[in-house]
């Protein structure tokens, strides 16, 4: 298991191409395409793993076995699911706004993919190491709100409309504590570049210096991904499937897919910002950096799933109240304390 296996492959590819006389511009373009395709494959593979993992964990928590029929231990279940979804009829109800209705499931996948371009999945392993990575991520992530809203609105179904209105209210509100919780970290590091944020955690992870911010981030992250206890957008027992009610087959499957991908993103972000990214704890560097990253990310995902299969759903007014009355003030207080702390530490010279 090489520490630099993926970085090595990229360097090797670049060397091969430049020795073959490919001009530098083409070289860079091809390399970028390769990276993006890798991200695509990575996302799809992760989706399948997550699909299996979610169902299996749900089964285990509920004293069941979960999928165990397709393949050894049910490992091929996600493939079977995708096959089933592809084989289904794309039913378009009569009264929907056809263009928007069909466009939204396609678009829902774009923002998560755009975000993946900047996530450093290991040391030097960001497809694009952007200097405003955190800012970019939140800017792009907000886009999925409008897509969910469009899906619900175009369905011409009251359940869908309620669901999409909830989606707008919830995702716009929870964006605030999500970003505010990261501000403390950004103030300490003084950078928006994700790689630099990770490097800044060399001595101590930010989860220990910013525990409240981590908690706020975790709660708001669950809300951003629309998972229980904040799964009001789908709210199965209230509004059937929310914005997805009228979708069928693969158009429907795109929404859970996007949901899983955004869960990966939220977990990856928490790993990067709070759990030290690819940095190895206890100096265990014999495990490669990208593996550390995945371990931490999957621990986060597991906690998301664990929480999902334990808690009931919160009500819509409580959801908003909790956000504006608890999370946002708490996040602001955290920023304030961080700022004061920074000045105090600077004054006594513990921290420069």
């Amino acid at each position: 298991m090489g520490e630099n296996i993926f970085v090595g492959i990229a360097t090797w590819l670049r060397d091969v191409m430049s020795s073959a006389g490919v001009p530098d511009l083409w070289n860079d373009t091809i390399l970028m395409l390769v990276k993006l395709v890798t991200v695509l494959v990575f996302v799809m593979l992760n989706f399948m793993v997550l699909n299996y993992m979610e169902r299996r964990i749900a089964g285990f928590i509920q004293s069941r076995r979960g999928p165990n029929r397709v393949g050894p231990h049910g490992l091929l279940q996600p493939l079977a699911d995708i096959g089933k979804m592809l084989g289904k009829e794309l039913y378009i109800p009569k009264s929907v706004d056809k263009i928007v209705f069909l466009l939204m499931p396609t678009l829902i996948f774009v923002p998560p993919f755009l975000i993946f371009a900047v996530l450093p999945l290991g040391k030097n392993m960001a497809a694009i190491d952007m200097n405003i990575g955190v800012f970019y991520m939140f800017a792009i992530a907000s886009l999925s709100t409008i897509i969910l809203w469009g899906a619900g609105w175009s369905s011409n179904n009251k359940y869908s409309l309620i669901g999409s209105m909830r989606a707008v209210a919830q995702m716009v509100s929870y964006e605030l504590p999500l970003i505010l919780s990261l501000l403390g970290v950004i103030m300490i590091t003084g950078t928006l570049n994700m790689s630099s944020i990770v490097e800044a955690q060399n001595n101590i992870w930010f989860v220990f210096t910013q525990p409240i911010a981590f908690l706020i981030y975790f709660i708001a992250g669950i809300a951003e991904t629309n998972r229980t206890p904040f799964c009001l957008v789908e709210g199965e027992s209230e509004i059937i499937a929310g914005p997805y009610t009228e979708y069928s087959g693969m158009t429907y499957a795109m929404f859970p897919l996007a949901e899983f991908v955004s869960m990966i993103i939220i977990s990856a972000m928490s790993t990067i910002v709070f759990l030290g990214g690819w940095l190895a704890p206890f100096g265990w560097t014999f495990i490669p950096s990208w593996l550390w990253f995945f371990l931490k990310m999957y621990v986060m995902i597991f906690i998301f799933m664990w929480v999902r299969w334990t808690y009931p759903r919160i009500r819509v007014d409580q959801l908003m109240g909790f956000n504006w009355k608890v999370l946002v003030p708490l996040a602001l207080a955290n920023i304030f304390i961080t700022g004061v702390g920074m000045y105090v530490f600077r004054a006594i010279g513990w921290w420069s």
Binding site: G59, S63, R64, R65, W306, V307, W309, T310, Y311
Partner: protein, 156 residues
């Protein structure tokens, strides 16, 4: 303290995640049914006297019996249950005096077509009577005799 219940819940689910699973992998493993289980019906044809008590006991007229009289005894030729209407209440089994109708432990009675669900427990033709009644034979003989007698007259 706020949040205690939340942590408690997580503890419960964590414990359950690691504990023994309660389901069985159905087609590979079967749970044995209790002796009284109301499964597929079984009819012991030899014991059945075609009395029709079961058909009368049924609340839904599920049981259809066809019988013929052979040798002064009722002979069951067809015993059909319209299982699609059956309530599995067990009143028919209870009403059977001869213990002919019983429940078995078979649970998989599902079929692909509704019409296939019908359960025909007996479908057989009535056997030929072993000995023909007395008067019938004599009448036949007399008729034969008369026919035999008339032919010569015709000829003559």
């Amino acid at each position: 303290m706020f949040g205690q219940g939340l942590l408690k819940g997580l503890q419960v689910t964590w414990g359950r995640m690691l504990s023994k699973k309660q389901t069985v992998e159905y087609p590979d493993e079967h749970i044995e049914m209790f002796p009284r289980f109301h499964g597929r019906f079984e009819l012991d044809v030899d014991k059945c006297i075609a009395c029709g008590l079961c058909a009368n006991a049924c609340p839904n007229k599920v049981i259809q019996i066809e019988k013929e009289k052979v040798d002064k005894k009722q002979y069951l030729t067809r015993y059909m249950m319209r299982i699609e209407y059956c309530l599995f209440c067990g009143l028919c089994v209870e009403s059977c005096n001869k213990d002919a109708l019983k429940f078995s432990n078979v649970i998989d009675m599902n079929q692909y077509r509704r019409s296939w669900v019908r359960l025909t427990l007996v479908d057989r033709p009535a056997p030929e009577p072993t000995e023909t009644p007395e008067e019938e034979t004599s009448a036949k003989a007399a008729k034969d005799e008369a026919a035999a007698g008339s032919t010569p007259g015709k000829e003559g």
